[in-house]
């Protein structure tokens, strides 16, 4: 096949469809990054399948020159599980949003994570409903005034990272649409993880929730207001790298860089990752991004096919005769 011979470029992954997101939408940067890392993965286009639900982010598959399935609201994890289980050879990517993935599809998201299906989940979190034009979402902060919360939202939000960890996800990471280098690194790490890889991407909605992440994502403040969790490296942050995080007991605190703890994403318990994910609640602390968790666990579809192989080995490949002419029969 031609594709196997010539290395693919980013351009190979652009479909012929016109991209229809609002000008300035964070989705463009994510699309660009995904197309970029796809080229470097060495997987032929015909072995890749993008699956999505409903929402702005879910238009994503139309713009990828791969196989794709734009499904119904919230159900992409189930569709993707069917695809991956039917054909484990495929590289399956799931694109969803905070409403699609954590509200209407929260149940399916929980279950794909616990099953550890080898699928890469990109959750674009803009903390708002975009496609339905500006209602609050399950990740909107308390008090957010939207079209459906004129006096401010009274719902306590989900933290997507805490959610994923609670579901037993084997890979959990977070990145920011405007932080291109970090996004590509994170996506690549997810791509190389065997099992469900959950990546929350802070994505700015310029129309309905502009600047939601500005406080820590702006280039001017980013280094001081975020901490990049890099497995095996000290938890250091700040423009000059002078600050660090130390976890004493259950309480992380800011220390000088020299006293920073080394970040481990593969501890037996997801406890440390959970503690770090809860930093979001403290405005005085830097917002953690990077890789919260990365552990090995049995993969769902492999176990399914292993049982098929074992059954065939034990009982022989079944035939129609075995199905019909079985049990006790009699002849008239």
């Amino acid at each position: 096949m031609a594709e196997a011979q010539a290395p693919l470029t980013k351009k190979d992954f652009k479909s012929d469809q016109e991209v229809r997101w609002c000008p300035g939408c964070g989705d463009y940067a994510i699309l660009n990054s995904v197309q970029g890392i796809m080229a470097s993965l060495g997987v032929p286009r015909h072995q890749i399948c993008f699956v999505s639900g409903i929402g702005c982010s879910s238009r994503f598959p139309y713009y990828m020159n791969t196989y794709g399935f734009h499904s119904i609201h919230g159900r992409a994890p189930a569709i993707a599980t069917g695809i991956k289980t039917a054909n484990p050879e495929l590289s399956v990517w799931l694109v969803t949003g905070d409403g699609d993935g954590l509200s209407i599809g929260g149940n399916h998201m929980a279950h794909i994570l616990r099953r550890n299906v080898d699928i890469k989940v990109l959750l674009f979190n803009n903390e708002i409903y975009g496609l339905t034009k500006g209602q609050y979402s399950p990740t909107s902060p308390v008090g957010l005034k939207t079209k459906s919360t004129p006096m401010g939202s009274v719902d306590r939000p989900f933290d997507p990272i805490s959610f994923a960890l609670g579901c037993g996800a084997t890979f959990v990471a977070r990145t920011i649409d405007s932080h291109l280098k970090h996004m590509e690194q994170t996506l690549l790490a997810a791509a190389h993880h065997k099992g469900t890889a959950f990546v929350e991407i802070y994505q700015n909605c310029v129309i309905f929730n502009d600047g939601a992440f500005q406080g820590f994502s702006d280039k001017a403040v980013r280094d001081d207001k975020t901490i990049d969790l890099q497995p095996g490296k000290p938890m250091v942050f700040g423009k000059d790298g002078s600050k660090g995080i130390q976890i004493e007991g259950w309480e992380p605190k800011v220390v000088v860089a020299a006293e920073a703890a080394t970040w481990k994403s593969d501890t037996h318990s997801p406890g440390p990752a959970f503690v770090m994910s809860q930093l979001d609640l403290d405005p005085a602390m830097p917002r953690p991004i990077g890789i919260f968790r990365d552990v090995k666990a049995p993969v769902f579809e492999e176990a399914v096919h292993e049982q098929l192989r074992a059954a065939k080995a034990k009982r022989g490949a079944g035939t129609i005769k075995d199905l019909v002419y079985t049990g006790e029969t009699w002849t008239v």
């Binding site: 072995q47 196989y67 794709g68 159900r75 069917g82 039917a86 054909n87 065939k312 019909v324 049990g327």
Partner: protein, 621 residues
């Protein structure tokens, strides 16, 4: 043991053409097992038969109460049998509640065998009885055999290592043994079953075998009965090899066979729901046939995973019952839009909402045909009996793949749990209908929404080089499948999908008329009413009535030629277990016909006698 000395040889042996027995007891008494064992043994003796299990939704309703009564009716005979029978000839009642709930159904003069060991004051109280029905005249007009089965079982199992509670749980096998004696059936089949069932607890197998043998011997030595009966094998059945089969079993086997004939891997996505769970359980045992079963987190995930698998090149399958159908509606619409083969099996039960989970109904018909947002045509076919499920399942696979469409297969609780002899198909009669995938870019380019002669689109599965394409729920342009919002294109696509499904009429047969092709009344049935309708028509023919019947397997689209057939009868009578849903469909499709609805919505199948009376009253008008 006394079996060897030809027990009961001194008693007169009477031949009977057919018998209807109802086993009734508390839901913890094992009546379903008892009934199934009796059925299985009778099937192997070559009787024709039909069964009707009827049990509460609660796993264990309060013991001894009326809502806790579980029943199993079996009709077996030496002649062709279509239904489990209107009224039992024999009632086995293990406690007062079982007696009082079932006695009204017993034929006048019928035999009732009562376990008096379960008739204490407190037992009567649990059954909400002020007086003892054994002595208050309730049983006058019946032949009553009183037997303290509790005590007999304790005696028979004296010295076993079992607790007294475990001993009492062998009561049903004592009863079964007694009925085996009465109807001259051998014990071997059940003995073997017990050995397999309790392979890990041989002491239980032994105890149940002892209890069964004791029941068998009791018939012989205790002079309970004046004679024994024999029901000869049925020679009216068409020649062939048979096995006893239940509906959900036959659906499962049919779907696996169908997938093999289509040369596809079968992927079931399902969520447990009564009375459909048996399909998930059965298919999970077919891993060596390459069948993938996925127990999803909910009904929606179940159908979505199945649809995802269909995109990836499997035959998608989901099994459920009414409430699950409601939940799957949106995903069915997606399946219509993406045009992939997906079989949706609906084992109907009483509704609305949770309704009567263990009882039967046919009230999902309109939901199946029309129950989705917008114009979302899906073909619907219905099984008419346990054995018919096999053929209908294969037909569902054929239509799904040939037309690249979701299809709904309707069965119901009555078929799902009922059993009958299944004449096994000859393997050479099962003709393959392989569904080819598109292997590469066709000449002139790849168009995901191009059409073949059946208006089916090509099936291009991920993993095929050059055929990368996107599908989804947004309206798509004809041929390219790209997103398209143009008004004319939308109407074109709506009509295209509709025409494709209605075009299935071209590949389905016109059903045969049972009886003369002209007459007063044509009974039109669909689904599980077939047995009762056929029996009723036979009875009416014997009375010289000009009545025929026709049974619909393809309920949507309807087969061609019905208008001509209907036109040869004065009226069309449509009995169904709903408020007249098929009648409504037929009235709208054939407005010139005189269509009479005959509804029954009691969670119970039609009795033959009800249909006979209905027809006679119509003829008398």
């Amino acid at each position: 043991m006394s079996q060897s000395k030809n027990p009961g040889s001194e008693l007169p042996l009477q031949q009977q053409e057919e018998v209807v027995i109802r086993f009734a007891g508390d839901s913890g008494d094992g009546m379903q097992i008892t009934g199934n064992q009796f059925t299985h043994t009778s099937a192997l003796l070559g009787n024709d038969l039909a069964t009707f299990p009827d049990y509460p939704a609660e796993i264990r309703a309060p013991a001894g109460t009326r809502p806790g009564v579980s029943g199993f009716q079996v009709r077996f005979g030496s002649s062709d049998i279509h239904t489990p029978g209107d009224q039992p000839d024999v009632l086995v009642a293990m406690n007062p509640a079982a007696l009082i709930v079932n006695i009204r159904d017993l034929k006048t003069g019928g035999l009732v065998i009562v376990n008096t060991g379960q008739f204490t004051e407190s037992d009567l109280k649990k059954a909400n009885l002020a007086k003892n029905p054994l002595t208050d005249g309730t049983l006058s007009g019946y032949r009553v055999i009183e037997l303290d089965i509790n005590k007999r079982v304790s005696e028979a199992l004296k010295g076993t290592p079992l607790s007294s509670k475990e001993v009492q749980r062998c009561k049903n096998f004592y009863t079964l043994g007694l009925m085996y004696w009465l109807y001259s059936r051998p014990l071997e089949t059940t003995m073997k079953w017990l050995d397999e069932k309790f392979a890990k607890r041989p002491e239980l197998a032994e105890a149940n075998k002892l209890a069964m043998q004791a029941g068998f011997n009791a018939g012989d030595i205790q002079e309970l009965f004046q004679g024994r009966y024999e029901v000869q094998r049925c020679d009216e059945l068409p020649k062939g090899t048979y096995r006893n089969i239940m509906g959900n079993e036959a659906v499962s086997i049919g779907l696996v066979v169908g997938a093999k004939l289509a040369d596809l891997q079968l992927f079931l996505g399902s969520y447990p729901i009564t009375p459909a769970s048996g399909i998930l359980e059965q298919l999970s045992t077919y891993k060596n046939h390459g069948v993938i079963t996925f127990q999803a987190e909910d009904e929606i995930a179940a159908i979505c995973a199945a649809l995802g698998s269909a995109y990836a090149g499997c035959l998608g399958l989901t099994s459920t019952s009414g409430p699950g159908m409601a939940l799957k509606g949106e995903a069915m619409g997606l399946a219509v839009s993406v045009e992939l083969p997906l079989v949706i099996v609906d084992i109907q039960r009483g509704g609305p909402s949770t309704g009567l989970p263990t009882k039967t109904e046919q009230a999902d018909l309109l939901q199946a045909i029309f129950g989705r947002n917008s114009e979302a045509p899906i073909p619907v076919i219905a099984a008419s009996s346990p054995a018919d499920c096999f053929d209908v399942a294969i037909e569902a696979v054929r239509i799904a793949t040939q037309y690249m469409t979701p299809i709904i297969l309707l069965s119901d609780g009555y078929i799902a749990n009922g059993a009958e002899p299944w004449r096994l198909p000859k393997l050479e009669d099962l003709k393959p209908f392989p569904k080819p995938f598109l292997k590469g870019v066709p000449e002139g380019g790849f168009l995901p929404y191009a059409r073949d002669a059946y208006l089916a689109r090509p099936w291009a599965k991920p993993g095929t080089p050059g055929l990368e394409h996107r599908v989804g729920g947004l309206e798509k342009a004809h041929l390219t499948g790209n997103i398209n919002y143009e008004p004319e294109n939308h109407e074109f696509m709506v009509r295209m999908r509709q025409n494709k499904v209605m075009g299935i009429r071209e590949t389905i047969p016109t059903p045969n008329v049972f009886g003369d092709s002209t007459g007063e009344i044509l009974i039109v049935g669909w689904g599980s009413t077939r047995g009762a309708i056929t029996s009723a028509v036979e009875k009416l023919h014997a009375k010289g009535k000009k009545v025929s019947s026709l049974h619909l397997t393809h309920v949507w689209p309807l087969p061609k030629g019905l208008d001509k057939i209907f036109g040869c009868f004065r009226s069309i009578l449509v009995p169904e277990m709903n408020l007249g849903q098929m009648a409504r469909v037929l009235r709208s499709e054939y407005p010139e016909q005189n269509i009479i609805s005959y509804p029954k919505v009691q969670g119970l199948p039609f009795r033959t006698s009800e249909l006979v009376s209905k027809v006679e009253s119509l003829l008398a008008k």
